[in-house]
């Protein structure tokens, strides 16, 4: 009984630590998409972060000025995917650092 109680406590404490770690590790990414042809902003283009170990982020879209914001992702190495319709047209490796990471402008075809 004592062991079970202790085990339960450890489970709760471990879960809280894990939750805290996941929450604390959240980072925000910002960047801009520009057209490779003339460096003008690429508006309303879908982007997301993807990592084989961490999974994918929700899709974010660039605004009229080409700027995009991806929020609440764990810090680490990712592939920044640029989507057109239902397919990926560009993949760029990036490193996300806490609390905010600015990505160099991405030139999309």
């Amino acid at each position: 009984m004592k062991f079970e109680h202790c085990f339960f406590c450890r489970l709760v404490v471990g879960g809280l630590i894990l939750l805290f770690a996941l929450t604390a590790a959240a980072a925000n990414v910002r960047g801009q998409l520009v057209y490779a042809s003339d460096n003008s902003p690429a508006p309303y283009v879908a982007v997301r972060l993807n990592s084989t170990s961490r999974g994918a982020s929700e899709y974010a879209y660039s605004g009229a000025d080409g700027r995009y914001f991806i929020k609440n992702v764990p810090a680490g190495d990712y592939q920044l995917e640029v989507w057109r319709g239902k397919r990926i047209i560009l993949t760029i490796p990036i490193t996300v650092r806490e609390p905010d990471s600015a990505v160099e402008p991405v030139r999309v075809p």
Partner: protein
């Protein structure tokens, strides 16, 4: 007009009950005769009663339910450029006029959009893209399965599909965040 199979089944099956009751307990003397949709119809007995009740139900259901049925059409067109120096046509932002999205001064948004009956993952999900100059662009996945919540940064907008009224209700406000320089 979108034909809902459930309503069609109800219209066809429900009249069986009064037809059965009428001709089980009352003398069977109904007779229907006359032109209908270009054909000459001559029916008698229980089936005549059933036929009349189906016609009546069809009219009543049509008048009551038709306003709630959506009328979505698939538009097929080709976008081309008149010069060689162009970007991908898929980047074109298509706006419907009169505007399909109707946003009143209080910020209430109403619009009609087609939603596929099934999707193959998050890339397939229809999304509202809400963009405003100087604010971060917001994406609202219109996904009844909430598959986007499994991804990092996926926000729960409390999306509900009201199948009775054919409405998608975004339960939480779409908050636009000012871009910090």
């Amino acid at each position: 007009m979108r034909v809902d199979c459930v309503y069609m089944l109800l219209i066809l099956l429900l009249p069986l009950l009064p037809a059965f009751v009428l001709f089980r307990f009352l003398p069977s003397s109904s007779d229907v005769q006359g032109p209908f949709k270009g054909l000459t119809v001559k029916l008698g007995g229980a089936f005549a009663g059933y036929f009349l009740t189906v016609l009546l139900s069809w009219q009543v259901a049509g008048s009551l339910l038709a306003p709630t049925w959506s009328d979505n059409w698939n538009v097929v067109a080709r976008i081309t450029f008149n010069d060689g120096d162009h970007r991908s046509p898929s980047e074109a932002l298509v706006i419907v006029n009169p505007p399909s999205p109707n946003i009143d001064s209080s910020g209430l948004l109403q619009m009609r959009i087609p939603i596929p009956r099934a999707h193959n993952g998050p890339a397939d999900v229809q999304r509202l893209i809400v963009a405003f100059n100087g604010y971060e662009t917001v994406s609202v996945p219109l996904d009844p399965d909430n598959t986007h919540l499994g991804a990092y940064g996926g926000l729960n907008y409390d999306i509900k599909f009201d199948k009775t009224n054919h409405q998608i209700l975004v339960g939480k406000p779409i908050i636009l965040t000012k871009v910090s320089e």
